[in-house]
Symmetry: C2
Subunit: 402 residues, 2 copies
């Protein structure tokens, strides 16, 4: 098998941890696999460099920021290759440029455009362990570029795709994806397999294991992605295409997002396109509107309710008041969004009913509902958020999946 392994900042946080990573890499090699390892900067290094830059400028030049920030991953890749060679393994460290990673020139958040795989292919072909500095590439002008937060994951997924790897393992400090946050429901189970689309819904709901950009890229390139911990030997969660998952549970997991706020507009102007005007203005201002509910109010005027991230509420308020200064506007930030995710919903009807009756039984009022093909989201009062998660976790049998 050709495996791409990616180790994040905490996994290579100090010299002992890099040694641990070297041992894990060596073991994977000993098992007969070909191996490309993508590494992040040692944790804290990138933030230190950002602080340095901000000492000189509030808006440091992006091109120079990239040159600066790329240093950390280079250090880790060199150190890991040195450690592996000392253990008797043939290893070589490659920078983003040397690994053939070409990006556009949007410095500090560049997109990978192409990977010239010849160098990696030659080294892998020669039996060498290839260690690649993550998070970075090179523009066609020859400038160093970086991929933004979570960039090393993107490096790993893109390399796995370009090299047609069998597996892309993302190592962090958590075991994988859980049916819900184990801090809320201690009976939460690790999920063995989950589809890209489900993972995307989880990530957008705040499950911080993987960023959506990486999952989207994995989906696009059809990369089998595994998220697992570098601190133990537990098997992680495989994120793969739907067809690879034999038994589709109706609901895969329950997520909670308490950082939502709701804006309700009553008696808004009786004017065609006023709603469109509000939402396009919010979009212009980069405010993320999540759930929207619209219905007809008294006297033919409309009512609109929608949610935004709590920290964008003030900004959203200003925008809304500008567009319509006659509407009655209400704000509510003590709300929580509870979401059920599962590809099994596609082929099952009545999934929502279970949720509604389980919550009703405990007298939890559902204030807003929105559904997609694989997700049902409900807004409840913030104080009932955790309780709702536990009720739904049990209602869909997630406590005893395995």
């Amino acid at each position: 098998m050709l495996i791409v392994q990616k180790y994040g900042g905490t996994s290579v946080g100090d010299l002992e941890r890099i040694e641990n990573v070297a041992r894990r890499v060596a073991r994977t090699k000993d098992e007969g696999n070909d191996l490309i390892v993508v590494v992040s900067a040692m944790s804290g290094e990138t933030n230190k460099l950002i602080e340095y830059a901000h000492h000189f400028s509030k808006n440091p030049s992006p091109r120079e920021m990239d040159l600066l920030l790329s240093a950390g991953e280079r250090v880790t890749s060199a150190l890991l290759a040195i450690a592996l060679k000392e253990m008797g393994y043939d290893a070589i460290a490659l920078t983003g440029r040397q690994a053939g990673i070409v990006t556009d020139d949007v410095h500090t958040s560049a997109r990978i455009e192409n990977i010239h795989t010849e160098t990696m292919q030659n080294h892998v072909g020669a039996g060498r362990i290839v260690v690649v500095a993550g998070f970075q590439g090179i523009t066609d002008k020859g400038d160093v570029s970086t991929l933004g937060r979570g960039g090393s994951d993107l490096s790993a997924v893109a390399i796995a795709g370009a090299m047609d790897a069998d597996l892309c393992e993302i190592y962090t400090d958590v075991d994988g994806v859980y049916t819900t946050d184990p801090r809320i429901e201690r009976r939460a189970q690790k999920i063995d397999r989950i589809s890209y689309d489900e993972m995307l819904e989880f990530a957008s709901m705040g499950a911080k294991v993987l960023q959506n950009r990486s999952v989207e890229l994995a989906k696009k390139l059809n990369v089998n992605l595994v998220t697992r911990s570098s601190f133990n030997d537990n098997e992680g969660t495989l994120i793969t295409k739907e067809e690879n998952i034999m038994e589709q549970p109706i609901v895969s997991g329950v997520a909670l997002d308490k950082n939502q706020a709701r804006i309700t507009l009553r008696n808004i102007k009786d004017e065609p396109g006023i709603a469109a005007k509000i939402f396009s203005k919010l979009a212009d201002e980069n405010i993320n509107v999540d759930m929207i509910i619209q219905n007809v109010g008294q006297d033919g005027t409309a009512n609109i309710g929608f949610t935004v991230p709590e920290n964008e509420l003030e900004h959203a308020k200003r925008v809304v008041e500008e567009v319509d200064d006659t509407a009655v506007i209400e704000y509510e930030s003590n709300i929580a969004k509870v979401s059920l995710v599962g590809v099994g919903m596609k082929s099952h009807s009545g999934v929502a009913g279970t949720a509604f009756s389980a919550l009703a039984k405990e007298n939890i009022n559902i204030e807003m509902i929105s559904t997609s093909e694989i997700k049902i989201s409900m807004i409840v009062s913030e104080k009932y958020g955790e309780l709702a998660v536990r009720i739904l976790h049990e209602a869909y049998g997630l406590d005893n999946r395995s």
Copy 2:
């Protein structure tokens, strides 16, 4: 004028010092000069990275060491460019590769083979301040290489040569080259101008302002080199070709080297080529033999005396005893070498006489003498070393040159 400025590790030792450097660079630009700035890593950074590598391996792979060690200069170059841009100057940071510095592939002590100046030329032509990460280049295979200790000086001199710069200023924490060590003779004077050859003699005698490699390269490329302090505005010392120095003093300076040891062999084998055998064996073992005196002893046997660096004495002992186990061998490490350097010696006779009589007057015995066209070195007892320096400094009128 096109000026290349190089700032060493202590000059960019922290963020405040980098800011100072930015102000000095800005001032040079404001004076109407074109400018290329070569920077070292922040002091301590390179040693930290070396320690990291040695955590994993006593003999880390040189190729990976270069990738590792090149990180520090990249950070400084990016930060300085960011600082300059914030001050309103057009600046760009370039890595060794981007600056077009091509080296051989002797990793960790590579030699510059070629500099492709187009990129630098374009940026300088556009009025931009070019900030180059020192100490590093790229091999023709595309691997990162470093130039060894003092490598940033080499980068600066090589760039000055390739760009045909008017001046190459090397900034450190000392004011320049002095007629002797001011800690020994407080009346020591800073030298305004000195020839490459004199500087080479000074450097090999332990004046640590510049490494010989840099001075040799400056001589070869005919680069006007200035060494000065980044912590004040004093003019430094110009190191240039002999013709550029109007008034040639007979003696430019006096140097002291207390880290010498002498080996004396008496009654060595009466065998042709035995001396050659000893010295070629010492050379094979990389022992630096400095002064050699040979004369005929009793019974037609020869006596040979020579000096080696004190820390190579043990090694030299073993070598000598292996080659000739019948000779009487004496060791002496309580010696000091006092040297007079001056291109003026070439055209003046009787220079040595002044030294001999000045030392004799104070009853300092000269144990060995060696002379070259521009240098006279004398071995005296270690306890008289400083005194001899002060006597000679006065005897040649160095106290009141200016």
